[in-house]
Structure formats: structure tokens, C-alpha cells
């Protein structure tokens, strides 16, 4: 049975419109005009326990509105939403005690307190039994390397350290479901990798269902077997990363490093799209020429030092999907 079921979810926001300038502000006090924006437009999907789903889309696409509905913060205008058999906004307290939420931009720890004291407070808030709590803290400290951070006030932590502590904090009550909102935003490369590895392990070993919203396509490639692509309140694609690639174009890329610089390199089936010293990037259609054939052709015609096949970067694919859908 799916853990999350969303059916025909709709949400429209009413935004007050105001003429610019001071006069507009005064007029707005007496007479308001409203613009209706559809944040969710008949959204439907379902997620099975143990899935790791990337929820992606441009700013204002409806990502955070969806997450807010799933978390029980926002009530939709219409549609069905069931998380672990409950309607989030109708049973807020039982619902939120079984989910974990991490916002990359905001901490849920107490700013001026050492990390461990925030954990203690969360233990009391979620009513975690003492032995379970001790075990969980030990596990998190080991997995996320929090050892020396526990006694540091949160305001003195670096962003990467804080994010690791926030992840631990969201998991102390052992939620079956975790929403991560931009968990790697602003992090350095090492911290990003640490966060990704941790999320992957959490999903694999503990079977925690993870729903990840992000702008970082490397997060998606590294973590998600499944993608939900949303824009303007509609789901544009529900499938794997490969499905996403297939939807846009079959074109692949081959990067060739020549032994010596050549002014000219061309084949009938492939097109040069980039050139940097001896390194040439070719684009080809695998239906017209297979990668081995193209490689064979090149190696026999030119002196080749190195070559590799490259996938179209996922950012470009997503951008194309948006454009294709007229955005």
C-alpha cells in the first residue's frame, strides 16, 4: 500500500494586487484587487514506502506548496491527500510525530544552545523514550560525525555542520518519512557529499522514505531513482532519470582528446559542438550511429589519446522540458 497518496490536489492563492508607489499603497487600504494564482493544479502521485523521490521544478512551481500540504501546514482547496493513512491537516499531531522535515534554509535547532540541548528538547517534544533516544543519538553521532559538535552552540556552527545536526534532529524520533527541502543549498563540496551519502544510507538501511526537493541536479542524479517534475502547479513527468533524458532528446555526447590539435574534424553522423585545444566535443544520435561505430571511425581517422561518452547534463534536460512545455 502506498505511503503517500495524492489525488487531484488543488490550491489557489489569492494575492492582493497593489498599484506601485505610496498612492497605490493608500488606495490598497480601501479597495483591494486580487489576483488568483494556481499553485497546485490537479496534482496526483503516490509514493511507496522506502522510495527516494526527487521533487524538482523551478522557483514558484509549487514544490513547497506540495510539501506544506503533505506536512499538514497547508490545507488544499480540493483533492485527496493521505500520508500513512492519515489526512495531514486533520490529524496534525499524530501525523507530524511520524514525519521528519529538514529545511535547508532554516534550522530547527535552538540558536543559542549547544546542539545536545536542542536534541534533549526535541526528545521531550516528541516524547521519545529515553533508551530509544540514547540509541538514536549514538547512531546519528557515529553516522554524521557529530562527536565534537554536540557541545557547541548552534550559532557557532558552519553551514555544513549545522545541516548535519539538523538532519540528526529530524530523525531522533525515528520518522518513517523524511521531507528534505534543499538540503545541500549553500554547502561546500565535502559537506554536500556527506549529506548525500547519509541520505542514501538512511534510505537503504533504515528504509526511510525520502522526498527531496532541490535545485541541485547532482543531488538528483546521485540519489533519486524516481523524479517528479513539476511546473506551474502541474506534474510534467513522473519517472526515472532515464525517462527524463528520453523525453527530451536521444542525443549523446562524445568527448575526444586528440594527440595533436586539428583545425577540422567532422563526420557525417556527428556534429562538433565544442572545441578546447585538442579536446573536441561531438554530439551524435545513437539511432543513426552507435557509439562503438563512431569511436571506431574516429580512432581510425585521427590520432586519439583519450575519449569518453558524456550524458547531457540534467540541468539542460530540465530546461528543455520547461521550454518544451511552453515555459
Amino acid at each position: 500500500m502506498p505511503q503517500i497518496v495524492v489525488q487531484d490536489l488543488c490550491k489557489t492563492f489569492r494575492v492582493a494586487e497593489r498599484d506601485p508607489g505610496a498612492w497605490g499603497a493608500i488606495k490598497g487600504l480601501f479597495h483591494r484587487r486580487y489576483r488568483h494564482t494556481s499553485a497546485l493544479d490537479h496534482i496526483s502521485f503516490s509514493i511507496e514506502p522506502g522510495e527516494l523521490v526527487g521533487y524538482i521544478g523551478p522557483n514558484g512551481a509549487g514544490k513547497s506548496t506540495t510539501v506544506k500540504v503533505l506536512a499538514g501546514i497547508l490545507v488544499p482547496d480540493s483533492g485527496v491527500c493521505q500520508v500513512m493513512g492519515r489526512t495531514p491537516w486533520k490529524q496534525r499531531i499524530p501525523h507530524v510525530s511520524q514525519i521528519g522535515v529538514v529545511f535547508g534554509q532554516r534550522t530547527q535547532l535552538w540558536w543559542d544552545l549547544p546542539v545536545i540541548e536542542s536534541f534533549e528538547l526535541l526528545r521531550a517534544i516528541y516524547r521519545v523514550p529515553a533508551p530509544v533516544y540514547r540509541h538514536n543519538v549514538e547512531e546519528m553521532v557515529a553516522l554524521l560525525g557529530l562527536g565534537e559538535l554536540l557541545d557547541t552552540p548552534v550559532r557557532q556552527l558552519s553551514l555544513g555542520q549545522r545541516m548535519r545536526c539538523d538532519l540528526a534532529a529530524a530523525l531522533l524520533h525515528r520518522p518513517a518519512l523524511l521531507y528534505l527541502d534543499e538540503p545541500t543549498i549553500g554547502l561546500d563540496a565535502v559537506s554536500k557529499l556527506a549529506v548525500r551519502q547519509f541520505v542514501k544510507r538512511l534510505n537503504k538501511e533504515r528504509g526511510v522514505t525520502v522526498m527531496l526537493t532541490t535545485h541541485d541536479m547532482d543531488d538528483v542524479e546521485a540519489l533519486c531513482r524516481r523524479i517528479l517534475l513539476i511546473n506551474r502547479g502541474k506534474i510534467l513527468l513522473d519517472g526515472t532519470v532515464a525517462d527524463l533524458r528520453a523525453q527530451v532528446s536521444r542525443l549523446r555526447r562524445l568527448v575526444v582528446v586528440l594527440r595533436e590539435e586539428k583545425d577540422w574534424i567532422e563526420t557525417d553522423e556527428a556534429r562538433v559542438i565544442g572545441r578546447q585545444g585538442p579536446q573536441v566535443t561531438l554530439e551524435f544520435d545513437p539511432e543513426r550511429i552507435s557509439a562503438p561505430d563512431l569511436i571506431h571511425h574516429l580512432t581510425s581517422a585521427y590520432g586519439v589519446r583519450d575519449l569518453y561518452v558524456e550524458n547531457l547534463p540534467i540541468e539542460e534536460i530540465v530546461a528543455e522540458v520547461y521550454q518544451g512545455a511552453g515555459m
Binding site: V75, I125, R127
Partner: protein, 267 residues
């Protein structure tokens, strides 16, 4: 219930520890509070020193009103200050975090900003109240003491109710409105003096709309065993502090309406 109280205690302890991170600032603020409120009472004392009494009220009598208003306001600042600081919280989007935790919003917000430096106001109010109690020509029977404590509780409830209403309005305005400060901070100043000194419409407002008089003026008359120039009975004077509790109850109901509004707009 017990569980909620224990969590409340933890929040308070955490809040105090946070403030202790800035020890010097804490000490300065507390002293500042004590001095500021202390000077205020000195000015009152100087006034009575010059005129003896005002409209039939003596200094120890006025000190009773003053002490009741100050102490109950200080208690409410202690327990409901989070509601006073709520507008910026909504604006920052931090109310989402409150909703994500499996506890009542009222408990989480009330406990979120417990300010220890308010002990300055509390201490000063208590000193004035105790001085008044000893200077007044009143025998402190058990019934009087209980009425005094009951009045303080109801007063704290009333001021907390005002803070809750102020916070509730932020669900619609997101800005904190100055008008609420006139009711909370202005209210406590008003309640420091006998109601009979004020204009009729003003008296009605603070009796029936915001029942400040219910938690200061009327019960104080019963404690002082003084006839009300406005002609109310003893029974009325002892029962009316309940109005503060009712006020808080109504405020909390409106709060729930505000939370529902937030659920449907997300802002």
C-alpha cells in the same frame, strides 16, 4: 497535562540558558528594568508627598492597584511573551516549524520567549505590593490573601489574553500593530490607578471590553474594604476577577480561528 507542564519547564530552562549566554547583557537589562520601574513609583510617591491624597485615595491604596497591575502584568510577560513576539515569527515563516511539532501551538509559543529580565518588573511590583500591604490599615485574613492571589492569577490571565489577541491579529496583518501596545502596555499603566478617577466611557471600556478593572480596581476595593464610589457590591467585586480568565478563554478560541486561517493561506 503534567507532560505539557514538564515540557513547558524544559522550554523555560532552555530559554534561560540561552539568555545566560549573554550574561552581561542580561544583568544590565534586569537592572535597567528595576531602575526604570522603580523611578516611576518614586514619582508617584513624590506626588502624594506633596498632595497627601488624590480624590480620596491615599498612597498605600494606590500602591495596591499599582502592585496588582505590575505583578500580574509581569507574570503574563513571563508566560505569554512569545505571543508578544509572534508577528515577526509569522513573517519569518517560523510558525511552520511550530506546526511541524507534535505539540499544541499555544504551549510552544507561550514558552518560546520566557524573559528572565522581566524579573525586574516583577520584583519592583512585588515590593510595592508588600509595602502597600503593610502600610494599609487592613487585617490580612486568609480570605483577603486568597482574594489577592486569585486576583493576581486572573490579572495574569487577562494580560496573557491581550498578548494572545495581539498575536492572533498577526495572522491577518503579519505586521505587529501599534494599537496592541496601547492596550497591553497602556493597559497596565491605566490599571495602576483607581478606575473612579477616569471618565465614564473610559471606565466602561476597561470594564466590559477589556476587563482590566475586573482584575485590579474591583477586587482591590474588596481587599481594602472600601465602598465603591461607583456603587458595586462586595460579591461582585470578589467574583468579577473571573472575567480575566474568561477573556483569556475567548482569546484562545480566536487564536484557534487564526491558526485555521493560517492553514488555508499559508501566510
Amino acid at each position: 497535562m503534567f507532560d505539557g507542564l514538564s515540557l513547558y519547564g524544559r522550554y523555560v530552562a532552555a530559554s534561560i540558558r540561552s539568555q545566560m549566554q549573554y550574561r552581561a547583557s542580561f544583568i544590565m537589562l534586569t537592572l535597567g528594568h528595576l531602575v526604570a520601574t522603580g523611578t516611576e513609583f518614586l514619582a508617584l510617591w513624590a506626588l502624594f508627598e506633596r498632595f497627601g491624597h488624590i480624590a480620596g485615595w491615599t498612597l498605600p491604596e494606590v500602591a495596591l492597584f499599582y502592585g496588582l497591575a505590575s505583578v500580574s502584568f509581569a507574570i503574563s510577560e513571563g508566560v505569554a511573551r512569545g505571543f508578544d513576539m509572534f508577528a515577526p515569527m509569522v513573517k519569518r515563516g517560523d510558525f511552520d516549524r511550530i506546526l511541524l511539532r507534535p505539540r499544541s501551538t499555544i504551549l510552544q509559543i507561550g514558552a518560546s520567549e520566557v524573559q528572565l529580565m522581566r524579573i525586574g518588573r516583577f520584583g519592583q511590583g512585588l515590593i510595592v505590593l508588600l509595602w502597600s500591604a503593610s502600610a494599609l490599615n487592613v487585617t490580612w485574613t486568609l480570605a483577603r490573601i486568597l482574594l489577592l492571589l486569585w486576583t493576581l492569577c486572573c490579572g495574569a490571565a487577562l494580560f496573557s489574553g491581550l498578548f494572545v489577541l495581539q498575536a492572533t491579529s498577526a495572522f491577518w496583518t503579519t505586521e505587529s500593530l501599534e494599537v496592541w501596545n496601547t492596550l497591553t502596555y497602556g493597559g497596565v499603566e491605566t490599571a495602576k490607578f483607581p478606575l473612579s478617577l477616569y471618565e465614564d466611557w473610559f471606565r466602561k471600556f476597561f470594564t466590559y471590553i477589556i476587563p482590566l478593572a475586573a482584575v485590579t480596581y474591583f477586587p482591590a476595593l474588596a481587599i481594602l474594604d472600601k465602598t465603591d464610589p461607583l456603587g458595586t457590591s462586595r460579591l461582585f467585586q470578589s467574583a468579577i476577577p473571573l472575567g480575566g480568565m474568561v477573556f483569556l478563554g475567548v482569546a484562545l478560541l480566536l487564536w484557534q480561528v487564526g491558526v485555521r486561517h493560517y492553514h488555508s493561506t499559508g501566510s
